[in-house]
Structure formats: structure tokens, C-alpha cells
Symmetry: C2
Subunit: 339 residues, 2 copies
């Protein structure tokens, strides 16, 4: 029968040490897998730990080591499938590597709420930062608050070398555009995402590159806000002119809104207008018609994100670097133009 335990406070290594008949330092060594512990001693300590339901105190450890083992995520629009999938994958990968994840969501992307979010994460002593938000402003704010942690952004245009994940958004956008051109389209609009999102920029760049590489005359992209609602209103506007046969939307939600507007106008997809999206959200296959789009592996993105970050933190971490290639998924919304 073990001697009486203090009620109130959870057991500490000293409690474990006392019951196991060793010093607190030996208990610490067991916790940290120190090599020179006799197996017999180790087992005794482990037994007592189990008996006491001992759990290491994270705060105490963080205090003395100055390491929080926490990764912060700054995210705008975490309610959408893409970001949400990446966040889930980040969390999973981080947890597997022994890290915690703390999130700060920002609603609007004004400087103030970005600063609030970053300050919140910084106050926690995060060791790494993942940015899923309008990035230009975030970096400015990061500098202003003199927060100095390794960071990773989810997308790349080569703007932040070494910090960005090499998912080839540009290649994906070129694939989408090429698909439309190959079908015979020559009047193609691009419905882009918000200006300060790197994803939006990369996809727009890919679109423009492919168009000019194929000598197709280009119109200025329309800047949207990622929502289906915006796609719908943009579609209504565009249809007052009707000088196009295809639209490449920068994400699937806006594509859905476009389709809605086109059908409202009495036109048929893809006979009158072809639509292609980006992301391949799980619902896209069930749109009417099923949406042709470019698939991105958001989960893989998240995993590599963490690997990149941990590469800076723990040199021993596995290296997931390399390019993730998106994939064209042809469904029912694209076809040859009529004339």
C-alpha cells in the first residue's frame, strides 16, 4: 500500500521518485530516454508512473527548456474545404512529431486583426508559424511586431524562397487553361481570387503564362473573393456581354456560382459555356453537371508544411520536400465551343 499522497496537486516527478526509491533526476532521465539507466530501475519508475497516472507538466518543461513545442497557424477563411483540410493535416503531422498546434483565425484581413492574431500566437511562444492568409500583409506585420520565428506559407510563387511550399499552383493553372485551349476555346475569362492571396496570384500567373504561350488573346482577370455568391454575380455581369466561350475559375465555389448564373440566363453547360474550377472539393463531382477541375492534395500540403517547419526546428525530422503536382480532373462542365 503506497504511502499517503497529496491530494489537490497532480503527482510530480518527485512523487514518482519517492515511491520508486530513486532521485527525481532518475525519473527525469526515464522520461527523456536517457541511455544509462538500468532496465530494472527504469521499469520500476515506469510502474510507479502508471500507478500514479503521472503526466509530465508541459509548462514546467517549457519553462526550463524555453521550448513550447507549439506550432501556430494563422488562418483566414478556415471554414473552406481547402484551408480546413490543410489545417487538419498540419495538426495531425505536428502531433505525430510531438508538437501542439494552436490556431488564430482572422475574419477580416485588415492589418489590425492580423496583428491581433499574430500577437496572440506570439504570446504563446510558438516555435513555428504556418500562414494561410493574405501573405504580404502578414509578413509586414510579422516584421513590425518583431516576431522572429520560422514560418511557412502554403503556396509559392518564389516570393519567399525557402519558406514556401512548392506546390505547383502555376502548373495547375496552366493545365486548366491548356485544357480549355485544347478544346478549341479562344475567348477565355479568368475569375481570380483576392489580390493579396498568393494562391490567387499563382493561378492567375499560370493562366496568363499559358494563354500567352499559346498566343491566345487575353482579357484582364476578374478579381473575386472565393465565394459562390461572388461567382454568381460575376457571372451575371459577364453574361451581359457574352463575348466568351469558357471561364477558368480560381476555385470550385466561384465556379458553382458561375454555373448558377449561366443556367439562370437560359444557357447550357458545357454546350454554350465551358467552366473549369480549381481544388476539387468533394462536392464538385456532384455539381450539375459534375465540375471539371484541378485537384490539389491539401492534406499532403499540410503534411509537407509541417515537415518544412520542423526541418528548421529539428534537423532529424523527415524531409518531405519536392513538388506536389496538381491533377486535372475532367468531368462534365467542359467541351468544345459551338461554332
Amino acid at each position: 500500500m503506497p504511502e499517503e499522497l497529496h491530494r489537490g496537486r497532480p503527482p510530480s516527478i518527485r512523487d514518482v521518485a519517492r515511491l520508486a526509491g530513486v532521485s527525481h533526476q532518475t525519473v527525469s532521465r526515464v522520461l527523456n530516454h536517457h541511455p544509462s539507466i538500468r532496465p530494472e530501475t527504469k521499469q520500476r519508475v515506469l510502474d510507479v508512473m502508471a500507478e500514479l497516472q503521472y503526466k509530465p507538466n508541459r509548462a514546467a518543461r517549457a519553462l526550463v527548456t524555453s521550448r513550447s513545442h507549439t506550432i501556430g497557424i494563422l488562418s483566414a477563411s478556415s471554414t473552406w474545404y481547402g484551408p480546413a483540410s490543410s489545417i487538419a493535416a498540419i495538426e495531425e503531422a505536428a502531433r505525430a512529431a510531438g508538437y501542439w498546434v494552436s490556431t488564430a483565425n482572422i475574419e477580416s484581413s485588415d492589418a489590425r486583426s492580423i496583428a491581433d492574431g499574430l500577437a496572440h500566437l506570439a504570446a504563446q511562444g510558438i516555435e513555428g508559424l504556418v500562414v494561410i492568409a493574405p501573405q504580404v500583409r502578414v509578413f509586414d506585420t510579422l516584421a513590425q511586431l518583431s516576431i522572429d520565428v520560422p514560418y511557412v506559407t502554403l503556396q509559392s510563387t518564389g516570393r519567399a524562397p525557402g519558406h514556401a511550399l512548392s506546390v505547383d499552383q502555376i502548373a495547375g493553372a496552366r493545365m486548366a487553361t491548356r485544357h480549355l485551349i485544347d478544346l478549341g476555346h479562344r475567348s477565355i475569362y479568368h475569375l481570380a481570387g483576392p489580390q493579396d492571396w498568393i494562391e490567387a496570384e499563382a493561378r492567375m500567373l499560370g493562366f496568363l503564362e499559358e494563354m500567352s504561350a499559346r498566343d491566345v488573346p487575353t482579357t484582364a482577370p476578374i478579381l473575386g473573393d472565393w465565394t459562390a455568391d461572388f461567382g454568381y454575380y460575376a457571372g451575371r455581369e459577364l453574361l451581359t456581354v457574352r463575348d466568351f466561350t469558357a471561364i477558368f475559375s480560381s476555385n470550385d465555389q466561384m465556379a458553382l456560382g458561375l454555373m448558377h448564373a449561366i443556367r439562370d440566363a437560359g444557357l447550357e453547360i458545357p454546350r454554350d459555356v465551358s467552366i473549369i474550377g480549381f481544388d476539387d472539393i468533394p462536392e464538385a463531382a456532384h455539381f450539375w453537371p459534375p465540375l471539371t477541375t484541378v485537384r490539389q492534395d491539401f492534406a499532403e500540403l499540410g503534411r509537407r508544411c509541417v515537415a518544412l517547419l520542423l526541418g528548421d526546428l529539428d534537423p532529424a525530422a523527415p524531409d518531405y520536400r519536392g513538388t506536389i503536382t496538381p491533377e486535372l480532373v475532367v468531368r462534365g462542365t467542359t467541351g468544345a465551343p459551338l461554332f
Copy 2:
């Protein structure tokens, strides 16, 4: 010119104290808004803090107070709109109340991954837990791991009184069912969510209650998995029988899959079959036809969730209790049956 500072370690209250010519305890009092500090002294301390860019060390504070100020979220399927919206709102509300949020996402809902997730959160010393997952198993696991923190679940059927949020899912489901019955439907199927989700259970309950209240013969609900894919396959199965005129789907994604299957079969919505969903995801208004559904305020849900939790933690926290009533949104997928 301030005296030389230690490089390497960030400034502590003692550094601030020395430069301000006070004791570390006075600095601590300023930090904690202790009433009896002379305004003049307080200002001097604040000035030094700003000059040094002093940031309180969370680990040290947590160690001595035994409080982590962290709320944990255990979430399955955080990639979907509903949960993701609630999570974002929880994070925002928690942050506003001075709490941090840490998430653990579980992919599969087997006992092992639930236990992993909970252990991960527990190791962090969370003070409260929000559960967005199959709840029955979570509570069992919680007990097994002898984790004892206040918790809140996002939905209620009165199963966990005092811990659940009173969003009236049952009322919402009854509204949806009533709408179909009022239109004249008498052969109505219900496509439910997974069995161990309380949301699914509540909506199913509401469906059954309303059906029996109106003396409409009821068929056994079909248990789905929330996905559009499942909705599609379930729809294909159902259409081999075709003994119904309307389907109430427990969420919008499955409704989308149903609509896809129905159109594939050459039927028209709502002429041949009426469909009603649940949630009102932002895309629902742009489905074809636009989906009739029941709107839930996920963000409000998240906010109240935190309030409920903080009510246990800080008696001074605002009280958001009360019932959130869902709202029927009639769009284009419901109409009177043909015959």
C-alpha cells in the same frame, strides 16, 4: 542609455524591475492589474516594458498558477463547413476571453484515435473541452483516461444535461419535415447522419416526432456518413424502388449527392422528387435547383459553446445561454408531389 542587457534570453519581469527601479513583484502587480499601485509607478513600469518589448512568459505563469488558459477542441471532420465554422467562432470567442485554443483532429472515429487525441489535449493541461465528434465514444474514453475537465458538446438531445448546447436540432428537423408534409408529401425518406453523432440522432428524432405527430407512416431512416458521395449512392439505391416523393437529408452535402442521383435517373427536382437539406452551407443557394434547407448559425453555436465553458471556468464570463432556433430556408428543391 539603458545598461547592457543579456542577449539570448528574452527579458523577464526582473529585468523590467531593475530598469524601472522597483521590485519584480511590483512588475507582477502591474501585469495583473493589482489596484494598489501608484499610477506614476505603474506608468514607469509600463514604459520599461515597452522599451524592452517585454512579453510575459506563458509557461512560467502556467506553472505557478496551474492554469493553462487553454481550451481543447476534439474534432472529427473539421474539414466540413459546419464544424469548421464553429471552430473558427470558438477560437475567436476564446481569444477574446483571453484563452488559447488547441485542436486535435481525429480522422477515424475509432476508440484508439479518440484516445490519442484526448491524451494529446490532456497532456497540454486543457481547462475545457469542446467535442465535435461522435460523442458517446468520446465520453467513454474521457472516463477511461480519467480526464476530468469541463466539456461542452455542440449539439444536444438532453443526453448530457448542463454540458450540451441547446441548439434545437430537433425543432429544425421538425420544421423540415413539416414543410414536406405541408406540401402534401406522404412518402418521405430520411437520410440520416452516422449513428453515433448526436446531431444525426437529434435530426432523426425530430423527423420521427413530426411524422408521427402528423400521422404520416414512417420508413426507417437510412444511416449515411455525411458525404455527397454517400448521398449519391444512397439515391441510386432508393431509385430502384421509387416509392417516395420526398427526401429529408440530414445535411446539405448528402442532399447534393441525392440530387445528382435523381437527375442521373432522368427525374426532375422538385417535380418528381422534393429534396430538403440541413445546415445551409454557402454553396446551397447555388445548387441546381437552389437547395431548400434549414439554416444553422454555426458561428453563434461556437460562441455560446465557449461561453458555456467559461461559465464553469470564470463565473464572471458573459452568459450566452438560451436556445438558438434554426431557420427554414425555402428555395427550389421542394414542391408539391405530382399526383
